[in-house]
């Protein structure tokens, strides 16, 4: 390991400080320009809210809108390894790239539709277990009990560990001979499983890891929601003779909906696009058996240099998620309150 010397510390602070300084200068300059235009020149009544939002809007534009626009531009190009700098852009390339997503095998063994189905199964299993696990744990933690803070801290540990470290640790635990999963199975009298050689079991392995990693987020989110429900509702229900299940069904669930809807949408998007866990635990293998859409997209772009195709492919994935989010919001009515307000 490199020793941590004062030189390195000073250099690190200097670099971070420089960045903060330039960001501060940019924000102040932006605000000055906005002030001169909105307040001095246009004498705009709602200048202050606009000025307050401006840095965030600029950040979104630089970090999201520009890359997204550039991605669309690349989707209509023939950029590849052999046309890295001198690529052409045109409708014909865009159409061809988009069609290729569906008609050409994205990887060697699996096509887009197989990958889509696998991604769907991966997302559904993970999100269902995240929500169920998170809900059960949150309800348990929401009751009065001794040592609640300790339980809560321990349950959040998977979330607190950097995902890379957790995934690599799990990868070792699925080792055929030395991993604790197989040792446990053998102690229970079951046969050891070749987790990293058999595509089916490898898929189960990555699902287990991701469920383990994802439950704490849902638990914390739902716990926050549960604590915001007034106990008066439950008192009234108990007076009316409602059972525990009825209280859960008619009080807890409806009042959790505004919390659950964004959490589930986020959960679906994160899981659908979860690259880290699969890449670190199995690398998409064996036999491409654990590849999902995003890992295959990564391979297409960074291993095969198919930049135009990759950009079109990422647009298709984005559109799927957009359609899902819109439909889910309509059906669940999760943001109804926000719209009505």
């Amino acid at each position: 390991m490199l020793p941590l010397t004062w030189d390195i510390v000073v250099q690190g602070i200097g670099e971070v400080g420089k960045l903060i300084f330039f960001v501060a200068v940019a924000v102040i300059s932006l605000e000055v320009v906005a002030y001169l235009i909105l307040v001095k020149w246009l004498k705009f009544k709602n200048a202050l809210p606009f000025m307050l939002m401006l840095p965030a809007l600029a950040g979104v534009a630089i970090l999201i809108l520009y890359p997204f626009g550039f991605n669309i531009y690349l989707a209509f190009s023939n950029m590849s390894m052999y046309r890295f700098k001198e690529f052409s852009v045109g409708w014909q390339y865009g159409i061809s790239n988009l069609l290729d997503v569906f008609r050409v095998p994205v990887l060697q063994r699996v096509t887009f539709f197989q990958l889509f189905l696998r991604t769907f199964i991966w997302t559904a299993i993970n999100v269902v277990f995240h929500v169920l696990g998170g809900l059960i744990l949150a309800i348990l933690l929401n009751r009065p009990m001794r040592g609640k803070a300790i339980y809560r801290t321990l349950l959040v540990v998977p979330w607190a560990i950097p995902q890379v470290i957790a995934a690599l640790a799990w990868r070792c635990e699925f080792h055929y001979q030395y991993g604790f999963v197989n040792i446990l199975l053998e102690k229970l009298g079951l046969r050891a499983v070749q987790w990293m050689s058999d595509p089916f079991w490898a898929f189960i392995a990555v699902v287990v890891v991701n469920i383990w990693l994802g439950i704490p987020f849902m638990m914390v989110t739902i716990l926050g929601g549960l604590q915001s429900i007034s106990p008066d509702y439950y008192d009234a229900a108990q007076i009316d003779g409602a059972s525990g299940w009825q209280q859960f069904r008619f009080i807890t669930l409806p009042l959790l909906n505004p919390i659950l809807t964004p959490a589930i949408i986020l959960g679906v998007i994160w899981t659908f696009n979860n690259f880290n866990v699969i890449y670190l635990v199995t690398g998409g293998g064996p036999m491409e058996g654990t590849d999902i859409l995003v890992t295959s997209l990564y391979k297409a772009v960074f291993e095969f240099y198919r930049y135009g195709f990759g950009a079109a492919y990422s647009l298709v994935i984005f559109l799927f998620l957009l359609v899902f989010s819109v439909i889910y919001l309509r059906i669940s009515g999760g943001f109804k309150g926000a719209w009505e307000a």
Binding site: M1, L2, K18, F21, V25, I28, S29, V32, Y35, N78, S80, M81, Y82, F84, K85, V104, P105, L107, Q108, R109, C172, H175, Y176, Q177, Y178, Q194, W195, M196, S197, D198, P199, G285, P286, M287, E288, K299, F302, E303, F304, Y305, R306, F309
Partner: protein, 419 residues
Amino acid sequence: MRRVFVRMLVCVMLIAMIVPLGAFAQKNMTITLWTKESEAEGVLQEIIELTKEFGKAHPGVEFEVVNYGVEDLRQNFQSAAFAGAGPDLLWTVSDHAGPFEAMKLIKPVDALFGAGYIDKFVKPGIEAVELGGKVWGVPLSVGNHLMLLYNKKLVASPPKNTDELIKVGKELTKDLDGDGKPDQYALVYNLNEPFWFAAWMGGFGAWPLDGTEPTLNTPGVVDALQFVYDLKFTHKIVPMECDYDAADSLFKEGKAAMIINGDWSLSGYLTDEVKKNVELGVARIPMVTKTGLWPSPMTSGIYFMFPEYVSADKEAVIKDFVEYICSEEIQLLFLEKYMRLPALESALKSPLVTDDPIVKGSSDQMVVGKPMPTVPEMRAAWDAIRPNQEAVMAGKATPADAAKAMQEACENLIREMKK
């Protein structure tokens, strides 16, 4: 309010002016070097020290050394170079030369240094980065090849051929605690990784590419797949699952008699802690009895590559730095400390190479190795081999079917890459 605002504005303007003025006042040249070397072996620290040493003779020249994993370095350099920025010098592996040359991101070095300088290096070292009649990297060290490493505490002499390997292997794979599972293995290596499989391919007279054409559906490839399948399922002398880390740990702990690993790993097996379990010996990977051929691990090396956008004034300093690092003295330092085989013809004749049994074993293996194809098509070959090799090693495909699938996949990938 207005006064405060104006004062704030003046302060910001002043500071904004002072920062760039300070930068001008320094008049330093900072050279950004991206290297694939990490801290683990101590090579990164060594590089930093060498840049400081070089800086003493070149006042005003400073280096910023950044470490990336091999794949991250490739991807990050592509992205940075596309944006017209990035490092001034690359310290990386030979297989990056193919894609970087195709993307026009690096410049040839033969024109930069002259043929006289390039001729000082061993031929395979130069051939590994020769594309379109031009040389695209200056070799720091050659090799990067696999070899058979054995633990003399468990096996006195290494097997000479595959028949002997299997015979000895069955004796060395032992269930020591009687739980029905082996606790000591004869041989460990990264079973599912195509780079390891390529050595066996060579032993069966096959190779992934002929120029830029895939040659994966051949009897040699089928035989090689059958052989690695048999090691696992028929002779059972390798673990049921074994990736790089597992193989490395088993060997270091003295639970494996032999490992197939690269020259980069040698120094890791010579530490005091590992020496408690391992008395290291180095030999060629056993000859394939059926063909009478030595397995031919892919050879490559570590190279300096020059991004095409580097300015002329920086280039002159970088050239000096490359000549300094590639000098005989520094190459021998890397050999002594990190077991890296020098790329300079003269350094290879040093007693440090000829008299050390481990280095000698390594160079003896390199002689039968084959340069890794640098053409971009090799990328397609790797990715075509991997899932099909995995299928064979999981008992899910026959060697013949896997070889056929490899060929088809490779042809498809090359077609898509060229679209």
